[in-house]
Amino acid sequence: MSLLAYDGGVDDGNSSDTEPDELIDFTAMLMEQRQHGDNDGDCNDSSSWLHGDGDNKLQSQSLDNQGYCLGQYVLGVLDFSSQYGIDYSISYTAANVIGRPTKFPAYGDYPETFTMRTYGDWWQCAPSSMREIQSQNLPTLPTHDFIVVYFEKFVVPTEVAIFETFNPGGVVRIWAYNITKHWTCLWEAKSSDMIQPRTRSNYALRDSRRFAPPLKKTNVITKTLRIDFNHSQLNYYTEIDAIMLCGRTVSMRSMQQLIATASASASASAGLQRLDGGSREVTSGGPITNKLRTLKFQPSCRENYAAKLHEFINNDLSQFLIENNLEPGQQLNSSVSQTCLTDLPFEILLKILSYLDLKSLFRMGQVSRLFYDISTHPLLYGELSLKPYWQLTNSKLLCTLARRATMLRKLDLSWCGGFGEVSPTEFKKFLTQRGDNLTHLRLNSCKFLNASCIETVGIVCDNLIELSLRNCAIDPPLLNFSCLANLKNLERLDLFQTAFESELLLSMLEGNRKLKHLNLAFCGVSVNMDNVATHLGTYNTQLVSLDMWKAHFLSARGLQSLARCQHLEELDLGWCLREATLGDSLHQLLSNCPKLKKLFLSAVRGITERDLVHIATLGKNLEQLDLMGILNITHERVYDILVHCTKLQLLDLSFCDSIMDRDLDVIADWSRLFNVDIKSSRIYNAR
């Protein structure tokens, strides 16, 4: 590392072209030497903000002898929540963000990029959609998917560029994993940013873009980024070609010092304080603080501020409000009205507090002893979602929550515990203490899970109605899953992108007759879907939604057994049946399951003209229909479907090659006429 850092002050422009080139392995990186000479102003600027920050003198010193600007592409992917491709493939998988852009200035649907599984809000509208637990925790632009990538060298980031080659606009947040083991948000989209692409025209942007939002001025040192995506505004799948991290390198020595100081300070701070401290960092005060700031109200209460503030509120607040021409009546808890928030009945207070998100609840608890008592009331912790606070969750927080959440019913720990922040032991302890009443448990992308954690879930949480283990450990097939067979009340089981043993699943299906929602997308080659389908048809006739996206070995026989699940409203068979001939099975399915609202048949190439006629005549309730990649669909059949399926909202006709280019205009007209969102990459390209 120290080899790389050369003295930037000596010769700025000319030598920078060659010198580092010799020292760095080029396989996955690109050096982008910035000409230091021509942006001297920038340099001064950056050092001034570093000094201005002032709270960490050491860091700013270390950055004074910084090396050079470095642009690097992704070296590897640490984690992701979803991808379109299957893990052994190289099409549409997360690993495609590694390295330099392969397609970038071009715009289109390229398999060489990273694509996620969903777009728009179609999945939220589907029958299988899940209600968020403790939804007040969610930010205005919730994260739907994420990817965590790492780079080769530590830098202080100055720019993060995301190369989007198809339907850009999904990125909502960029996080950096600090060398001191904290996540820092470098950039966050505002909701106004998100709506922009759509209002400009009916069609989303049709150019690839190099998206490099202005980052918050920070001095974090990082080589790991997390990109958050929100799909709600996307017209179709977004595709990411590459991610570039630009920044200034730092010397090894200063980094070591930094780590030393950080670990010293970290040991002093508790996890609970981090939850609070983190919030202060991000929002820098709530609305009241902001209001006070505009009033130039800056009492000096360095010491003993709690007492002084209390004094101020009791004695001087009314006077202060009158002086500042504020209606005292507006202030709910002002002493003028002589009723205080604390005068309200306990139940009412509890009700009010139940609308608060977790962060505010913790902050509330710091106001006074009374508020602390209320804010820690078990009733407020009946539902707990730490997913929006994935970056703050650690074993200590879990420990704190275990004390409060004695009546826990629903728990969402998705995305939490990366980088060893949550230990499996702590999780098991939490679960043994509070897990026996759990009805809903979501552990999506929890990297700390191991076989014994799953075992604990199976043994302790025997009342589970919903179990979601999306994207947990692909190999080795986690799961001494055998204890999960204890669960008998499941109504929803989500094993999206999670490897499991066939026998376990079959026994679970047999045991949980009330199962309504099952997600087996990307379940790997070891599972024979025909057997699963036969089991479903025999034992789980209550099934409402089934996702078999990219599952293997499903044939017409399996489809026929699925036809026995008469309550099916949602069926995703994308990439399942491949070239298999369907015979009469689709007809049977459609006539037995009249409630079908969503039917995905992406790349089911064996679909014949006759099957399409059946879809049109029998799919009265269809709202979403995906026929992507079906070769023999003609525009007559499209018209049939549009006329007969009156509730249709979404129709995907991408890569349907029998639809001639000359028909595309007609189809675009039908899209308006029937008010159906018809997806076809070519319609948008042609116009």
Binding site: D21, I86, G606, L631
Partner: protein, 366 residues
């Protein structure tokens, strides 16, 4: 019926070709001349190419690529012999002491009119790749089955995509150099994952050389093949897999509804090969366009001189001459080609060469 048509086509070809007899004669001469010793004329041409390459190396070396790829169209164009396109590749920066492959490529599409422009990784319906990672070198050829043209399917697309997938997969993090059959299987699976279906079929041969153990691993489906020549003798060869004469095993993705009428051999039926390489070994990886026209004795005779060449420019002359030989012999109606010998063994009269796409990857172990 098919054989009858085949023969008829062969006759027509022969009449067409007889007009160009004289040309092919000279070609033949050139080829033989070039092959016996790295002759001066070609050397002079190659010198030009070497300069180009040198520039390319310098240029690409600056931008930090490990693989040096130079298109030698300038050199081959100057030869005026119809050798339109060849490709040379060398791996630089590998550790000393461990064996590595120096590999070059040459080839011709059967019908130059149909593929007037050279594009990397492709000779007509043949496709190839050559890549190198820290862990291993990987090479491969694939021969698209031409019969798909009747269905309106470009037969080259399938082989091209398969090879490109292999190349990308070889750079994936979980690439196992000791399992080329996995590479082939994953590339085939990747083919199935395309939104735009890629239909057709092809034969394929993929090999990897693990740097650490100097062991060669190969997986072969169909009639493309691999020969390893050591001290003027063939020491290892891949097995040819045929259903029946002129119908090799093939990886296939048939159009919907055609699944039952088409031969589809999964990647699991690949013939595997493992061989301990030594320095000085010469590998030839080629499609049936070469093996059907050039006898093995001739290949051995030519390639025994290529032993131990680490200079890719020199090696390129050998690849060029083999490709040129195959090309000229394939249009020679009186050549007693391996194909015609084989046909006679099956009681089929198919004299002369067999015009086909030609791809040669030549690699020497240094």
């Amino acid at each position: 019926m098919n054989e009858y048509l085949d023969n008829a086509r062969r006759h027509i070809q022969r009449t067409v070709i007889s007009g160009c007899d004289s040309l092919s004669e000279t070609l033949n001469m050139t080829a033989m001349f070039a092959s016996t010793s790295a002759n001066q004329m070609l050397n002079a041409l190659m010198h030009l190419k070497a300069l180009l390459l040198q520039e390319a190396i310098e240029f690409i070396g600056l931008s930090g690529r490990a693989n040096v790829v130079g298109d030698s169209s300038g050199a081959t164009g100057a030869s005026g012999s119809g050798s339109r396109s060849s490709e040379s590749e060398s791996e630089s920066g590998t550790r000393s002491g461990q064996p590595r492959l120096v590999s070059v490529v040459c080839g011709f599409p059967k019908d130059i009119g149909m593929y007037p422009h050279y594009s990397k990784g492709q000779f007509g319906e043949d496709a190839w790749f050559s890549t190198s990672t820290d862990q291993a070198d990987a090479l491969g050829v694939a021969d698209g089955v031409g019969g798909w043209r009747v269905y309106g399917i470009d037969p080259g697309q399938f082989s091209r995509f398969l090879m490109r997938s292999c190349e990308r997969l070889a750079h994936a993090q979980d690439f196992e150099a000791t399992r080329p059959e996995h590479l082939l299987a994953r590339a085939y699976c990747n083919l199935l994952e395309q939104k735009q279906p890629i239909l057709g079929s092809c034969t394929a041969c993929v090999l990897t050389l693990l740097h650490d153990s100097s062991t060669l691993y190969a997986a072969n489906i169909g009639d493309s093949g691999l020969l390893i020549i050591r001290d003027g003798a063939i020491v290892c060869r891949s097995m040819e897999q045929q259903h029946h004469f002129n119908t090799p095993y093939q990886l296939a993705v048939p159009p919907p509804g055609q699944g039952l009428n088409v031969l589809t051999d999964g990647p699991e039926c690949a013939a595997l090969l493992q061989f301990e390489l030594q320095q000085g070994d010469v590998l030839i990886l080629a499609t049936d366009g070469v093996y059907d026209n050039v006898s093995e004795e001739l290949l051995v005779r030519v390639l025994s001189h290529a032993s131990g060449i680490s200079d890719h420019v020199k090696l390129q002359t050998f690849a060029n001459s083999i490709a040129l030989m195959a090309r000229s012999l394939s249009f020679n109606p009186s050549h007693d080609s391996p194909f015609s010998l084989n046909a006679r063994r099956h009681n089929i009269d198919a004299p002369g060469g067999k015009p086909d796409d030609i791809t040669v990857i030549l690699a020497s172990v240094v």
